[in-house]
């Protein structure tokens, strides 16, 4: 193994089912139901997944949901905006924790 991440490994995702088929099947049934069209369309859900994939920084998920977004009819402008949503929330979360910094600083400062 020359790298922890290899694109071809994505095709072996289902091998996780070999360790515990029951749990795997439950997860896949849930996964499929989550991404089916409902109150949100499949296209919208794929865009959310793409944004989350960037938040958790999973290269497999970024690969899979980039393709999924295109195959659901999204374009590069929409997908780029989704990644900016990730960026804004991640950056915003850091800034929001600045309130804790201010609370501590205020408490111990003169």
């Amino acid at each position: 193994m020359d790298t922890y991440y290899h694109p071809k490994d994505l095709a072996h995702f289902a091998d996780l089912g070999k360790g515990n088929p029951g749990l795997w099947e439950k997860f896949m049934a849930y996964y499929g139901a989550v991404f089916a069209g409902g109150a949100l369309s499949e296209r919208e859900k794929a865009l959310i997944a793409l944004a989350v994939a960037h938040a958790v920084q999973c290269p497999y998920c970024i690969d899979a949901y980039t393709q999924a977004c295109l195959e659901k009819g999204s374009n590069l402008e929409e997908m780029t905006e989704a990644v900016h949503v990730t960026c804004a929330i991640r950056g915003g979360a850091s800034l929001a924790h600045g309130v804790q910094m201010r609370n501590v600083a205020t408490k111990i400062s003169m």
């Binding site: 369309s41 499949e42 195959e71 659901k72 009819g73 374009n75 590069l76 402008e77």
Partner: protein
């Protein structure tokens, strides 16, 4: 990679040869042969179910040079159906009760025989579809084209890959999106796509890259919302069509390192349920030179109709085309992946 400005043929590409394309498609060792796949699904051999569509490809001349074109059409191509062959098509059609004539190209409207084919098909009482690239409607020499199509009640099947100008222009050439929008507005203005007008406007979208098309119904809703909100454009329906791994799209796949991945994507998405709706089962495809094929894709790969069926429009006999065997190859994975794909859109 920039979009090509000339056809494969004009650039002297090896891929201009249909035989070279077939060699590549059939020599990919990692791809199970299409015939073996449909045999494994109990669907072999594929046979016609009766001809419902008389598709005429009038030639390769086009005012655009789209990056995915399976015809290798463009302004530099001169292969065009002659009046004599067009008349042979109409004579053959008259001897049948085939209800639909589907005229394609290139940009079929640029063939001098196009209007004759429309008028004669309508005189015979057949429905007529024009596969239109939209920008042709803006050419000064075609200023009366939209009115001609409307007068004859021709259904327009118009290509628009995306509601995003960046994607449309990337596939079809710089500025094409703007021209397409202008043409759609003109068609709407004379009634096309408007309820109650009887003038049918169908949009066709191909993926702008090496991936499968979206679900047809969902994409139609997306296009309907975006085109009306941003441009006030209406249309009747939308069809999704998968890009075939042939001709200029094959060149794109090879040059971008996507060929193997795309072929596996098509194979992995093989859908036995999509096979029963593929167009080759109910279409006869006539080439610009009068030769007969099972579909427009086989035509571009120079795979004429076989297994005893007539080879040329002058030998056309509908009795030989009721259940004839269809010629297949690995390119057929393009029509059987996912929701399926045909000139009529998704097949499932």
């Amino acid at each position: 990679m920039p979009a090509p400005s000339a056809s494969l043929k004009a650039r002297g590409s090896a891929l201009a040869s249909p035989a070279e394309q077939v060699r590549l498609l059939e020599s990919e060792a990692a791809i199970t042969r299409f015939d073996d796949t449909i045999a494994g699904a109990g669907l072999d051999p594929l046979r016609a179910t009766g001809i419902q569509v008389f598709q005429i490809n009038v030639g390769k001349l086009c005012n655009q040079t789209c990056r995915h074109c399976h015809v290798d059409a463009g302004p530099d191509r001169s292969e065009m159906m002659s009046r004599e062959t067009a008349e042979a098509c109409m004579a053959a059609l008259a001897a049948t009760e085939i209800p639909m004539v589907d005229i394609t190209g290139g940009a079929p409207e640029l063939n001098p025989c196009f209007r004759y084919l429309v008028e004669d098909s309508r005189r015979l009482g057949r429905r007529v579809t024009d596969r239109c690239n939209l920008s042709v409607l803006l050419l000064p020499a075609q200023s009366d084209l939209a009115g001609f199509l409307a007068r004859h009640g021709v259904e327009i099947v118009a290509s628009l890959p995306s509601v995003a100008s960046s994607q449309t222009d990337a596939q079809r050439g710089g500025g094409v999106f703007g021209k397409s929008i202008e043409a759609l507005k003109r068609l709407n203005a004379i009634g096309y796509g408007r309820e109650g007008s009887g003038l049918v406007l169908t949009l066709v979208t191909n993926p702008v890259g090496a991936f499968l098309p979206p679900a047809q119904r969902a994409q139609e809703a997306h296009f309907r919302e975006c085109l009306f909100r941003e441009h006030g454009i209406v249309f009747n329906s939308l069809r999704t069509i998968t890009n075939m791994p042939i001709s200029r799209f094959l060149e794109f796949l090879l040059e971008t390192g996507n060929y193997e991945g795309y072929m596996h994507r098509l194979l992995d998405a093989f859908n036995p349920a999509a096979v029963s709706g593929v167009m080759c089962q109910y279409t006869i495809s006539v080439g610009w030179d009068g030769r007969l094929y099972d579909c427009d894709f086989n035509q571009m790969l120079d795979l004429p109709i076989a297994y005893g069926a007539p080879a040329h429009i002058r030998a056309f006999d509908p009795r030989d085309l009721r259940t004839h065997r269809i010629r297949t190859g690995n390119h057929c994975y393009g029509c059987t992946a996912g929701a399926g794909s045909s000139c009529g859109g998704a097949t499932t």
